[in-house]
């Protein structure tokens, strides 16, 4: 007698320990084998784009914070860049340096969460807490500067909300020195752990042409082996003044573009960010008013602009249409997580349930940004 079998539909989320927010994955499974994954999003949708149309240009900045809440600095920065380009505002050099320092610190903090929670998805608790300990120090630096630990509202159109604290440079240098050993520690504890490699190598392989066709950017694209980094390839701000490497996946433990590669790109990028911050701290102009270029009233000419920054997750783009009023006519965000979440079905097909968590962790999504 043949046993009757049927496919089971498993709803993973919206409340689940490792969906990184309120994401619902509808899994079709045969035993442990996943045959189809359908992501359902929108649980955090709060009409950011509609809100923007009712706000003045400078009032939008705090709203951008709430999209990618792990990398709020970049959200501010991308928006500020877009409006500055639309109005033709030149920001002082000191502001640019501080923006770069803050941005790269934010990148370390965000990658620390990504790497840590990825370990957590695989079942390793300890590296997560080591990384959070160091992230906490970055947040303290941010708190010292602008008073907020998560949603900064720091980078304004044409300037910054506050100048840095007198102790900031010294404390940042101290932090950077103490951070380098943490990366080694995480590598020893996690990256080269046999079980970890078994769980992540050859899992969720993303070939390069598929990645490009899906519009993947950031570590997800670089993990597939293409050295494409907006900081270098579409330079904005003052990134051309710094010397840093664009990290790509090498397929060291398995196939090129697998989960381990994407993970390891993030680990190494933290060290590259340390390099950039060190150079920026050395070159930082000593004096200067960070608010001198902030316009009293923002009324850009009629037109449209698309600017993009390299957020820790990929390309964060702002498309702003202006009709010549004080409010934007349309603000459209290109959130990298939104684009990356789309590849889940392709990546997970034919894998086991446990691999879903590994793959989802490796593309590093933030639901606040997916749903806006």
């Amino acid at each position: 007698m043949a046993l009757k079998t049927e496919r089971m539909v498993l709803n993973m989320g919206p409340q689940h320990p490792s969906t990184h927010g309120v994401l619902r994955l509808e899994l079709e499974i045969e035993g442990e084998l996943v045959t189809k994954v359908t992501p359902h999003i929108g649980y955090l949708h709060r009409c950011f784009e509609k809100h923007c149309e009712a706000m003045m240009y400078n009032q939008v900045v705090p709203y951008t914070d709430r999209m990618d809440y792990l990398a709020s600095m970049y959200n501010n920065w991308g928006y500020a860049l877009a409006v500055e380009k639309l109005c033709g505002i030149q920001v002082p050099e000191r502001v640019e340096y501080i923006r770069v320092i803050m941005g790269e610190l934010q990148r370390i903090a965000s990658h620390a969460v990504a790497v840590g929670t990825f370990g957590l998805d695989i079942g390793a608790w300890t590296p997560f807490l080591y990384l959070f300990r160091d992230r906490e120090r970055i947040l303290t630096l941010f708190e010292m500067t602008c008073g907020a630990r998560l949603l900064y509202n720091y980078i304004w159109v044409g300037g910054l909300s506050h100048d840095i604290h007198p102790d900031f440079v010294r404390m940042t240098r101290e932090f950077l020195e103490s951070f380098k050993p943490t990366v080694t520690e995480v590598n020893n504890l996690l990256s080269y752990n046999k079980i970890f490699i078994e769980r992540t190598a050859n899992i969720g392989v993303l070939p390069l042409d598929t990645a490009i066709n899906y519009g993947c950017t950031g570590p997800t694209l670089r993990g597939s082996g293409l050295a494409y980094d907006l900081r270098r390839d579409d330079t904005y701000s003052i990134y051309n003044k710094f010397d840093f490497n664009v990290i790509t996946g090498q397929g060291l433990q398995g196939t090129l573009g697998d989960t381990w590669d994407r993970y390891y790109v993030r680990v190494q990028e933290m060290l590259e960010s340390v390099k950039i911050i060190e150079q920026a701290l050395d070159q930082l102009p000593a004096e200067g008013d960070v608010q001198s270029a902030i316009p009293k009233r923002i009324k850009p000419p009629k037109g449209h602009v698309y600017t993009r920054v390299e957020n820790p997750r990929g390309e964060l783009g702002y498309f702003i249409i202006s009709d010549g009023n004080t409010n934007p006519f349309r603000v459209k965000v290109r959130p990298p997580s939104f684009v990356h979440l789309e590849i889940m079905d392709d990546l997970t097909r034919g894998h086991l349930i446990s691999d879903i968590m590994a793959i989802l962790g490796s593309i590093d999504i933030v639901l606040g940004e997916v749903d806006r």
């Binding site: 320990p17 370990g119 998805d121 695989i122 079942g123 300890t126 752990n193 078994e198 349930i353 446990s354």
Partner: protein, 355 residues
Amino acid sequence: MYEFLNELLGNQILAMLLTAAVPLVFILLFTLFAVWLERKVSAHMQDRLGPMRVGWHGSLQLIADFLKILQKEAPVSLEADKPLYNFAPVLVFAGSFAAFAAIPFSSKLIGSEIELGLFYILAVSSFMVIGILMAGWSSNNKYSLLGAMRSAAQIVSYEIPTALVVLGMIMLTGTLSLTKISEMQTSSFWNWYILGGPGLSLSKFLLIPFMIIGFIIIYISTLAEVNRTPFDIPEAESELVAGYFTEYPGIKYAMFMLTEYANMFAVSAIVSILFFGGYQSPVGYLGNMLGIHWMIPFEQAFWFISKGLFFVFVQIWLRWTLPRLRVDQLMALCWKYLIPYAFLNLIIIGIISLL
């Protein structure tokens, strides 16, 4: 112990209940201590302090937690199969509690001195599988079901290498009685089976490497049997929320936790009996030196619990260091590596013991 109490009280039922009460109290106290230990050890490994508020270094935290969990409302899902759902935690706990009956804490402190001790423990601990399957099925939750299936597959598979290593030890010692195996390793750590067992013959030295391999195999497989990291896939919180006990609240949940920690100690105890002399002291007894003979059983209990706690500590240590395996890798480890090596080890031990 039952005979002693029976003579003392002259009442079989009372003696039976008292005998049963000792391991129960031990399990409760041990669980309180082990959970506290786990939290403190993990905290210090992760640069944290862990519980610090209730009592000295949070030592009373678990009592507070236990009181909270006792007071919890216990809602049952409407779709659940209620009789099975309510019976499952009891059955799971009964399985691990029953194993404690045959574990010799010292030469005197043993629930029942049965000849088939090892066989009995292997048999009753498989009881748990039924309870876990019951829990997973009756909860009417897909996560529970998946967790229960994983758990059943895992426990049944890993019993084979465990049994093979135990078989080798039985061939060597010629007995199934845990007390007798412990008695063979008396007087000094030199006589422990991890160092080839008692005596000074050639076969003792030949046995040492295979004993170490056997120890590693049984330690890994018992780790898997009690669902601890890196083998905690049945309750992998990042995949299956809490596995087979996802739907259990309050005191029923506490029973699963109690079982988990009781099992941790039970398997540690078996490992220490087989390879590390059980309740025997590694260096000799203070009671013998001072001439106070009634002290010896207490010393033995001390050594036994210390050894058990040491292996529990290693389990905790592993849990907070290693990531988790995937379900197919877990099975591959068992069937492709542990079982063949266990068989080979069994054959070699057999040949050596014939020498």
